[in-house]
């Protein structure tokens, strides 16, 4: 088993009086799909936003490839090779697929002219490499794409930059059956290409299909770390809703009444 590529040790974050995360441990290895589950308010989004550099953690350590790193902003995070695909995808509807995939990192020639041909080629290669074949054209404006196509473009955008860790926030939440299938297949292909994939989802069915391991959060704390093959959906639901919380006095043991 490979060593974790990304590891959070005891990270905490509070917003005013609200303790959003408390001493959370989290890790993901190359080539595996790690699911992050938890009820609303469990701290899933806070955790990934911290990793993405949207805001700093109050305490704790982030290790990347075994070395401690400081992430002060989104740029630090993407420089390490961590890419986040947010739930709202953050695509500019008025721009085409190529422009979106390269947004903010356009290739230029002669110093300042956008190298459209080069970008279009790389975009096509990346999409083809991920077997995304549902797009009519990479010059299509994103506004005209379906939900699944948009998700595929957002994922392709994330992996195009030699990224090592891809974090997907609710990638299937708004999708129909066929489109969910597209995206889940895509997630598996990412792991096959030895990327570390973190997937946040409320849909345990999806998670059990793609995830190798599952980290469950509850009220801002890590509750369990499962091997997907060793547990049932029932176990995970129990962990999400009534798991043990070692930093809450009286709840160190499995509680019955929560």
């Amino acid at each position: 088993m490979a060593d974790p590529i990304l590891e959070c040790r005891g990270v905490s974050k509070h917003f005013g009086a609200v303790q959003a995360l408390y001493k959370v441990d989290f890790e993901v290895r190359p080539g595996e799909v790690m699911a992050l589950v938890g009820d609303n308010g469990a701290g899933k989004s806070t955790l990934i936003k911290g990793i993405a550099g949207i805001y700093p953690f109050d305490e704790g350590q982030i290790l990347f490839e075994g070395k401690p790193v400081k992430i002060h902003g989104p740029k630090d995070s993407s420089d390490l090779g961590i890419e986040v695909v947010y739930q709202d995808l953050a695509l500019a509807d008025n721009l085409d697929v190529v422009a979106n995939m390269f947004l903010g990192r356009e290739k230029v020639q002669n110093g300042f002219v956008i190298d459209e041909a080069n970008m279009e080629r790389t975009a096509r290669e990346t999409l083809t490499g991920l077997s995304v074949t549902t797009l009519q054209s990479v010059r299509q404006v994103v506004a005209g794409l379906s939900g699944g196509q948009r998700q595929s473009v957002a994922v392709a955008k994330a992996v195009m930059w030699n990224s090592k860790v891809v974090i997907l926030d609710e990638p299937t939440a708004a999708l129909g059956v066929a489109q969910t299938r597209q995206v889940l297949d895509l997630v598996k292909r990412l792991a096959d290409q030895d990327l570390a994939v973190v997937i946040i989802s409320h849909n345990l069915h999806d998670i059990f299909e793609v995830a190798d391991r599952i980290t469950s959060l509850r009220l801002g704390q890590t509750v369990d770390l499962f091997q997907t093959s060793e547990v049932t959906q029932q176990d995970v639901v129990h962990s999400i809703t009534a798991g043990r919380m070692k930093y809450v006095p009286g709840m160190e043991q499995e509680e019955e009444t929560a």
Binding site: A92, L103, R105, R121, R124, E125, V138, V141, A143, Q193
Partner: protein, 418 residues
């Protein structure tokens, strides 16, 4: 993470069902499908221009004369120049209501600095200072809008009033009559001189050659990288069409006094800003911020910096337009920048197809819209109608333009293009 399995010549199509059009006939078919789906491009505005020309041409025999054509170019130049700045501001879904009086500030500052012996600055310096002032005004507006989050509508409305006041104060301070004449020959020539026939031809043909060169270069690059191209026949037709229009315009203008010099100024800025909007990272970021500011921010684009730069572009082009107007009138007056100028320049950008909701529009739309506005104004001027009727008709043209746009958008939504 790109797969290196493909060689340049055999990149597979991105979709199994879809095929890029490769012949002229297929291309026209694809184009017609897009038009039917509501993606009209510049089609409505070109039809509109033809209709306007037919209407006024049949009403008055003087309308379709070479003398009137050059007049129309002179009238249109200032709208188009300022309109370029408006296009940039609208691309961000912002608005700059101070743009007309900012242009007047530019004209007045230049004129004051040019007054013989008081201080009697050379024209390059006077123009440079005037443009610096209007750009700085745009900068201040941009900073206020981005740093406070107050909508640009309100901030620029305040600047609209304030700059109107500045123009009045400067004019009453430095002139008794309310008008200052421009004595400098060079500055007066900007909007009053005409190119010799030969230079007009060189300008027109040179312009077409530059466009053709860029397009052919793009075609070749795409071919070399194994990317789909539009059919060569279509490219030839497009370039040929452009050449015909430009050559006809130069020929027609040469029948009269020649191509106005101000077209060189306008042409330069049209090409420059089109290039910046379409081919540079900055331009791409302007579209991105206009389309989805949050996506732009997450992509590491400094949204504030883009916005401030765009308001500076607005101020700069307003200054250029103000100088063009002052040169045309050979003076500035207390009413400079007032009247319908503001609405005309915003209408020019919108009629030309720039969306008020941001993210969609082209620099050249300022030219097309300005042509429409000037064609209407000019025609009504010949009809000797009073300015009330002028406003009503211009208003109706604007309404027709935005309605056509709205219907096209609805069509596009229905057919899934956007």
């Amino acid at each position: 993470m790109t797969s290196e399995t493909q060689t340049p010549d055999e990149l597979p199509p991105i979709s199994r069902e879809h095929k890029e059009p490769t012949t002229v006939a297929e291309f026209f078919q694809a184009w017609w499908v897009r038009v039917q789906a509501g993606d009209l491009g510049f089609l409505p505005i070109i039809i509109g221009l033809v209709v306007i020309v037919i209407i006024f041409g049949s009403l008055d025999s003087r309308y379709l004369t070479e003398r009137n054509f050059t007049n129309l170019l002179l009238q249109m130049a200032s709208f188009a120049t300022i309109g370029i700045g408006v296009v940039f501001v609208l691309l961000l879904a912002e608005i700059d209501l101070a743009i007309a009086f900012n242009s007047a500030v530019g004209g007045v500052v230049m004129t004051l600095l040019l007054r013989p012996e008081d201080p009697g600055w050379p024209w390059p310096l006077a123009i440079a200072v005037a443009l610096t002032v209007t750009t700085a005004i745009g900068f201040v507006m941009g900073v206020i809008i981005t740093k406070t989050g107050v909508p640009s509508f309100v901030v620029s409305l305040a600047f609209n009033l304030g700059l109107n006041g500045v123009v009045l104060i400067l004019m009453t301070e430095f002139s008794g009559s309310g008008t200052i004449r421009i004595a400098d020959e060079t500055v007066r020539d900007i909007s009053n001189a005409f190119l010799p026939d030969l230079w007009g031809w060189l300008l027109g043909i040179g312009g077409v050659a530059v466009v053709a060169g860029t397009e052919l270069l793009k075609y070749r690059t795409r071919q070399q990288r194994g990317l789909p191209n539009k059919p060569m026949g279509i490219l030839a037709m497009q370039l040929g069409g452009l050449a015909v229009v430009v050559i006809a315009a130069v020929w027609y203008a040469n029948l009269d006094r020649g191509v106005p010099f101000v077209m060189v100024v306008l042409g330069f800025f049209l090409v420059m800003w089109s290039f910046i909007a379409g081919r540079t990272r900055f331009g791409r970021h302007v579209y991105a911020v206009g389309g989805n500011p949050e996506a732009a921010r997450r992509a590491g684009i400094s949204v504030d910096r883009v916005k401030i730069s765009v308001f500076m572009i607005g101020g700069f082009m307003a200054g250029v337009g103000g100088i063009v107007i002052a040169s045309r009138l050979q003076s500035v007056a207390t009413n400079s920048g007032g009247g319908p100028l503001l609405l005309n320049v915003i209408a020019a950008a919108v009629i030309g197809g720039t969306s008020l909701f941001g993210g969609s529009g082209k620099v050249v739309s300022a030219l097309l819209g300005a042509l429409v506005i000037a064609a209407v104004e000019n025609g009504m001027g010949l009809q000797n109608v009073n300015s009330g009727v002028k406003f009503v008709v211009t208003g109706l043209v604007l309404l027709a333009a935005v309605l056509a746009d709205a219907f096209a958008k609805r069509r596009q939504t229905a057919s899934g293009i956007r």
